[in-house]
Symmetry: C2
Subunit: 264 residues, 2 copies
Amino acid sequence: MHEPRERGGGSGAAPTRADRARRVAHVLRGQVLRGAFPDGVLPDERALVAEFDTSRNTVREALGLLRDEGLVARRQGVGTVVVGRAYQHPLGELSGLAEVLQRHGVVVNEVREARSVRPPRTVARRLGLAEGGPAVYLERLRRVDGTPLSLDCTYLIPEVGEPLLARGRDTLEKHDVFDLIETAAGTPLGTAEVSVQAVVADPATCAVLAMPAGGAVLAVERLTRLADGRPADLEFIHLRGDRLTLHATLDRARGGPGAAHRQP
Amino acid sequence: MHEPRERGGGSGAAPTRADRARRVAHVLRGQVLRGAFPDGVLPDERALVAEFDTSRNTVREALGLLRDEGLVARRQGVGTVVVGRAYQHPLGELSGLAEVLQRHGVVVNEVREARSVRPPRTVARRLGLAEGGPAVYLERLRRVDGTPLSLDCTYLIPEVGEPLLARGRDTLEKHDVFDLIETAAGTPLGTAEVSVQAVVADPATCAVLAMPAGGAVLAVERLTRLADGRPADLEFIHLRGDRLTLHATLDRARGGPGAAHRQP
């Protein structure tokens, strides 16, 4: 076992190369996602060996991990390059994803489904609807500058969902659902309960999001309430793990909770 | 293409079975993770067919997706059962994971490494350290009631890290690093910048976390500052996707940001 020494000593058992590669990958992954390589090219192996004070094999293994995640690729004569662009979503900001993403490019919401449904019992219960009654189901694929980023599956209470259906497909494609809900309900949104989980995407979702099979997504479940506390909107959002990062600034002093946003 | 009809109509193209299965899985996944099945057994296929108003094949496909994610398993003579237990971590609470998890069971931090290192240049820069100077590296595997939940790789400024090394392994195993930092620094922690991403875990990480190969983890990067704004602690945390969910309550009214915690 690893007995930490008291002053700057080693820890006992030497880390394996896989351990060392993982640690290099931790740091590089963050840099890729923060856009720290403005020209999209990572430092060459020799520079990485120096920066991480490690062996060439470890650096190669670390780059292999990031390649497997779809974050970087090796390009002949250039080196290791960042694949595509990563977007950051401030988690503390209760804005729709489109509101955030439109700072970065042209957002298009492809409407895959929009209709009245009989929701599953659990969904009805969480939305405060009578069992067996209708809800509106809305499924949209978000693209930024043509790249699919998220698949949003939304159950809305009829009071806010039906007016959205009435607005027609064009409105749903161009507007954030939060803005539409506030307009339809005539009242601002209040709080949202959000849970975030990492999931390996199923093949159908990978195909829709144009991501490699077996890739990871952030599965976000979000229950949004109107200002008066009534649930309005239960969303299941799958965000491409290789293209989107959630951000928050947390404050320990403010009684534990309290999160402020951070501009990406 | 899907033209939403104005009042409760269909959306045009019928969803495929994969689409329908995905929608069933969205709802069941949330239930499994919230512990909505107190006896750990999901409703049988017939009940799920009724609840989701869908076909038996769709239900089977949805259950197959959750099995692939390692959330449920089929048990002979019992049906579909929840595998292991899922924990919820309030994201808005800047407490260490151990502080949160000890509400749920016995938390043990296995110290895998604890020593003075020369950190990568990017890490030094983010911690405000002089290039080439030392930092303390601490790697711990968190278990709750024996189940590995997260692998935490932490770079600390020497001022807070060296006193931690001096405390010895036993202290590091039993205490949350935030508490130890506050004691070592003699000052409370201030804000933390957190980013969250979904990643397919590499084989070495899967092995350490005792999760199936190819499983997803939440990769959390957290830079914590002391109350005076100095960076103290840069962590790379991998949380098992099948065992941990992050939670937050967000408030649209409070000027966009502002997140409150929610007890799990």
